[in-house]
């Protein structure tokens, strides 16, 4: 296909604003999928990703569309992860496109996720085609959405297409707009192949299947290609596209989108944003490549220690199709053997945990998540710390920087006070407030990532009775007064509960943890002191009072067998306990606290 007849585009939307339905509708209208397949797609059960409105993986789909003026176009729909945890992946996917459909729900209007995604698309200089979807809904308010497009996103309202993907309204206009408004790909003018890797998945037979967009030249089987960032060379085995099932093609030409396989054994070899070029006549790399680094870390432990190997195998499986997820073995006095896992963000962490639980049926416990701190030492070196256990001694620390995010919160007017209070509770700074319409406002705030790890989103949802939405993007680092909070049981630190917190938050958190631990630590024959400490200074204390007796009852000949069995059972139970500062603590107690 000649470049003039190729269009590469994405669809960006907030959860439930109709991205999936619109995609299906476009596939159907272009004849890419049959009526029957369309039915099945629409009735598709909600799996984990759909439930949360996050498609991490979807193949780029190639459609052929005969436009009204009679010419046929190759339209490549490139899916993007729907969440800015994957902002780098989103930006790579977007950079494979020249344009994007921005889908906004006519009844709900612009939401936080819309804002974050539009910003990413604009940064890629994409042509944005706004689509106001669900106009058939009784509560649809097209004028209001148009105002929001202009006011918040600076997108001319008259460019919006009114549609209902569900009812099939506006689909032709959208297809025509893709053809006419989105520019065709422009060859870069480099001397040879430049193909951008924007995604990959692992196939047992073919190895890594890389999703590529050819920016320059062409790629054929048998060609020797080189990945510019890793420097590795491969022989291309197969190229093709998706319709939406993969089909083999003899080559991918400039401007086209599809996949290539080259006997690549490990997904780690293919970094998102890397460039394939002709190994014999290399061209320069495409711009925008970054190494992705996990932003959030948490320890994952099998609840049943016998499941360790099982967990290890499943983590490896997950990583095959999610190279952004990293893990290394670690061990904890309290929880035994497990893995330190790195995630791109909160949602990523949740998804991985949910996958392990649901898809692999694993019983796991996650430790308190930590962000990556930049610790500037007094000798001038910088150390990155994602595990409180490795935080250097306070005396050798000059200062600590913590990652911050720019968060967008959209909520009904009446909750603005609650949101401002929440932001300040979370050590955030409100940057500005915008009125979206007569009902809603958007707050933009800078917040420490560490503060939004746990319950920020849930708090917004509950404070606004479900009407608030939030999204965020990473915004660098700032110097903060961070300290290591340690929990001590009879003087011994319990590693699973150590955390790095802001000094202002340390006491409250220490108190809460101490109180919770008091609830779950069983009474012993002696009093158990639970302390929260910062650098040796005790900031909170609880005591589990001692048992004063365990027996004052009788026991004669007929009672002995039963009593012995009872005691043997207790003895067996204690074997499974962890002994910390001579205090026997059942693993369930740790889990209780971590779950709370």
């Amino acid at each position: 296909m000649d470049v003039a007849h190729i269009r590469n585009f994405s669809i960006i939307a907030h959860i439930d604003h109709g991205k999936t339905t619109l995609s299906d509708r476009l596939l159907h209208r272009t004849g890419t999928i049959s009526d029957r397949e369309m039915q099945e797609q629409l009735l598709d059960s909600m799996d984990l990703e759909r439930e949360r409105g996050i498609t991490i993986k979807a193949h780029p789909v190639t459609m052929h569309y005969r436009a009204k003026h009679g010419e046929t176009y190759e339209l490549n729909l490139i899916d993007t992860p729907g969440h800015v945890d994957f902002s780098y992946e989103v930006s790579r996917s977007l950079s494979a496109c020249e344009g994007a459909l921005l889908v906004v729900d006519a009844a709900q209007g612009v939401e936080a996720q819309t804002v974050a995604n539009v910003h990413l698309a604009m940064r890629q200089n994409l042509t944005i085609i706004p689509v106001i979807n669900k106009i058939d809904l009784p509560h649809a308010n097209v004028d209001l959405v148009k105002t929001q497009l202009e006011d918040i996103l600076a997108i001319p309202a008259d460019t919006a297409i009114l549609a209902s993907a569900k009812e099939g309204i506006g689909i032709d206009e959208i297809l025509e707009a893709i053809v006419h408004r989105i520019p065709p790909p422009k060859p870069t003018g480099a001397p040879s192949l430049q193909a951008l890797c924007f995604d990959s998945y692992f196939d047992t037979y073919k190895g890594v299947v890389t999703h590529v967009r050819v920016f320059n030249g062409e790629v054929r089987p048998g060609m020797l290609v080189k990945l510019l960032h890793t420097g590795k060379t491969y022989e291309v085995k197969e190229v093709g596209s998706f319709n939406p099932k993969p089909y083999v093609r003899d080559r991918l030409e400039v401007g086209e989108t599809g996949y290539l396989t080259a006997n690549i054994k490990s997904p780690k070899e293919v970094k998102m944003g890397d460039t394939f070029t002709d190994a014999k006549h290399p061209s320069p790399a495409l711009p925008g490549f970054q190494e992705v680094h996990p932003m959030v870390f948490s320890g994952l432990y099998p609840i049943n220690t016998a499941d360790y190997e099982h967990l290890k195998a499943n983590l490896a499986k997950l990583q095959l199709n999610d190279p952004a997820f990293v893990y290394t073995p670690e061990s904890s006095v309290a929880l035994g053997f497990g893995f330190r896992c790195g995630f791109l963000g909160l949602l990523h962490l949740e998804i991985v945990q949910e996958r392990l639980r649901r898809h692999y049926g694993m019983d796991i416990i996650a430790t308190y998540p930590s962000v990556v701190y930049r610790v500037k030492l007094t000798d001038g070196t910088i150390k990155e710390v994602d595990n409180p256990a490795y935080l250097p001694e306070p005396t050798s620390i000059d200062h600590i920087e913590e990652p911050i995010v720019k968060a967008y919160i959209i909520c009904p007017n009446e909750y603005i006070g609650d949101m401002m209070a929440l932001i300040s509770e979370k050590r955030g700074v409100l940057d500005h407030t915008e009125t979206l319409d007569t009902r809603r406002v958007m707050l933009t705030a800078t917040l420490p990532l560490n503060e939004i790890l746990i319950d920020f989103h849930d708090r917004i949802k509950s404070l606004t009775h479900g009407y608030g939405s939030m999204d965020y993007e990473h915004a660098g680092y700032q110097v903060s007064d961070m300290v290591k909070l340690e929990m001590l049981v009879n003087g011994e630190p319990v590693d699973a509960f150590s955390c790095i917190v802001h000094r202002d938050k340390a006491e409250a958190r220490g108190r809460a943890l101490a109180a919770k631990l008091k609830e779950v630590i069983p009474r012993q024959q002696f009093a158990v002191a639970i302390q929260a400490a910062i650098g040796g200074k005790i900031i909170a204390r609880e005591t589990v009072s001692a048992f004063r007796k365990d027996v004052t009852a009788k026991c004669y000949g007929g009672d002995i067998t039963r009593k012995r069995k009872l005691l043997e059972k207790q003895k067996e139970g204690k074997k499974r306990m962890k002994s910390i500062g001579s205090v026997d603590i059942p693993q369930e107690a740790f889990i209780e606290v971590l779950k709370a």
């Binding site: 004063r548 365990d550 009852a553 004669y556 000949g557 007929g558 002995i560 012995r564």
Partner: protein, 411 residues
């Protein structure tokens, strides 16, 4: 009556009057369970039933047969009739039973106890008991508070306690025990004090006092589960302290977690004069036959339990079979662990020589780590002769037992 010839089964451990371990050719301790109660108490998990028809007759007959089966291997130094409510058996059945024991040469024990409910003690029964050598009666008083007696489902009243006391003393019993319970739901410290004061004033030779146990399958347990009341550990501790103090002040010597006895004679004896030797044998891991429905025997390291159903029990013996429904023979170390675990309930602890005589193991060596662990926590103390729990350790006898047990490998 032909006593079945018995092959010599080898010596069995027994307990001497001074509490020391000895091995003898025959079993020296006999327990008999009388499974009848007029009414089941709220806390009781022992097997008993309300007698109907000729069940008591059948029971006495079946028990006779069981006695015959073991008589050759039994020369009782202690006998204990427990229940249920042994005193519920009518006079003529008692007479029949005791006569048969006499024929089997099972009488003449140095200590012969029958448990009685204060409501079922009569002068003629007391006399009969005396005539056949019963020299100790254990009176199931539990409380002297009318409301609590009601709460526990006891059939007797306060008044009956004092009346039966008089009856027993009048019949010449010089060895009486009172069973008392504390930490009963609803019992206040003041009520417990009053009961203790009155009970001690009676001047019994022996006192068994224990905290309510919430055993599964009892109404009291169900009530606890249902949240009808809460267990107050501090109160239970206060009551136990009160007990220790009052008993000591009244001249009793504690010799086990829940047992106190009067002592006369030289002060430094291993056991107080009026300690219950029958129970001491349990804690010392000695052999004993346990007859009657649901009764446990422990003979030469083998523990068996009879059917916990009077009809099944009778039917088995009527057809010439034993009524045993459970059998357990622990390997030597596990058996020794059990002896270690339950022996330390005694204030005297385990004299090392006795322990070795009983089990063949050296407590100091095989349990060295556990003894050190208990000593380090102030729960135990070691002298050249014995290991014993401290005063504080006695309150954690279960913890000590847990440490000392040597669970058998699963079979």
């Amino acid at each position: 009556m032909a006593v079945r010839p018995c092959e010599s089964p080898g010596p069995a451990p027994a307990t001497r009057p001074d509490g020391s371990v000895t091995w003898e050719p025959q079993v020296r301790h006999l327990y008999v369970h009388v499974p009848f109660c007029a009414h089941k108490c709220e806390y009781c998990a022992f097997y008993s039933e309300v007698p109907r028809g000729d069940l008591m007759e059948r029971y006495v007959k079946a028990l006779g047969r069981e006695l015959e089966r073991v008589a050759a291997d039994l020369r009782p130094r202690t006998i204990f009739f427990g229940g249920g409510t042994p005193s519920l058996l009518p006079l003529r059945l008692w007479e029949r039973l005791l006569r048969q024991m006499d024929r089997l040469h099972l009488l003449g024990a140095a200590e012969f106890t029958i448990e009685c409910n204060p409501a079922t003690v009569s002068a003629d029964k007391a006399r009969l008991f005396r005539d056949f050598g019963v020299n100790r009666v254990s009176l199931g008083v539990q409380s002297l508070d009318e409301a609590l007696l009601e709460r526990l489902g006891r059939i007797h009243s306060r008044r009956q306690v004092f009346e039966s006391w008089e009856t027993l003393r009048a019949a010449g019993f010089e060895h009486l025990n009172l069973d008392l319970m504390f930490a009963i739901p609803g019992q206040t410290l003041a009520v417990w004090r009053a009961t203790l004061r009155e009970a001690l004033a009676l001047g019994s030779e022996h006192l068994s006092t224990y905290e309510v146990i919430y055993e599964e399958d009892t109404p009291l347990f169900a009530q606890l589960r249902a949240g009808r009341f809460e267990v107050d550990e501090d109160l239970a501790c206060a009551m136990y302290d009160e007990l220790l103090e009052a008993a000591a002040a009244a001249g009793y010597r504690q010799y086990e977690v829940a047992n106190f006895a009067r002592h006369d004679g030289p002060s430094e004896t291993p056991l107080p004069t009026h300690a219950c030797r029958h129970n001491v044998n349990y804690w010392r891991g000695g052999s004993f036959y346990g007859l009657g429905p649901s009764a446990t025997s422990y003979v030469r390291g083998v523990r068996t339990r009879n059917a916990a159903n009077t009809l099944r029990y009778c039917a088995a013996l009527e057809t010439g079979r034993r009524a045993v429904e459970f059998r357990e023979a622990l390997p030597p170390l596990a058996r020794a662990g059990e002896a270690a675990a339950f022996g330390v309930r005694m204030v005297r602890g385990w004299p090392f020589a006795d322990f070795t005589r009983l089990t063949g193991f050296d407590l100091r060596r095989e349990w060295a780590e556990d003894l050190a662990w208990l000593v380090a926590r102030g729960l135990g103390e070691i002298s050249p002769e014995a290991f014993r729990l401290t005063r504080r350790g006695l309150r954690f006898a279960d913890l000590a037992a847990e440490r000392l047990l040597r669970p058998a490998p699963p079979d």
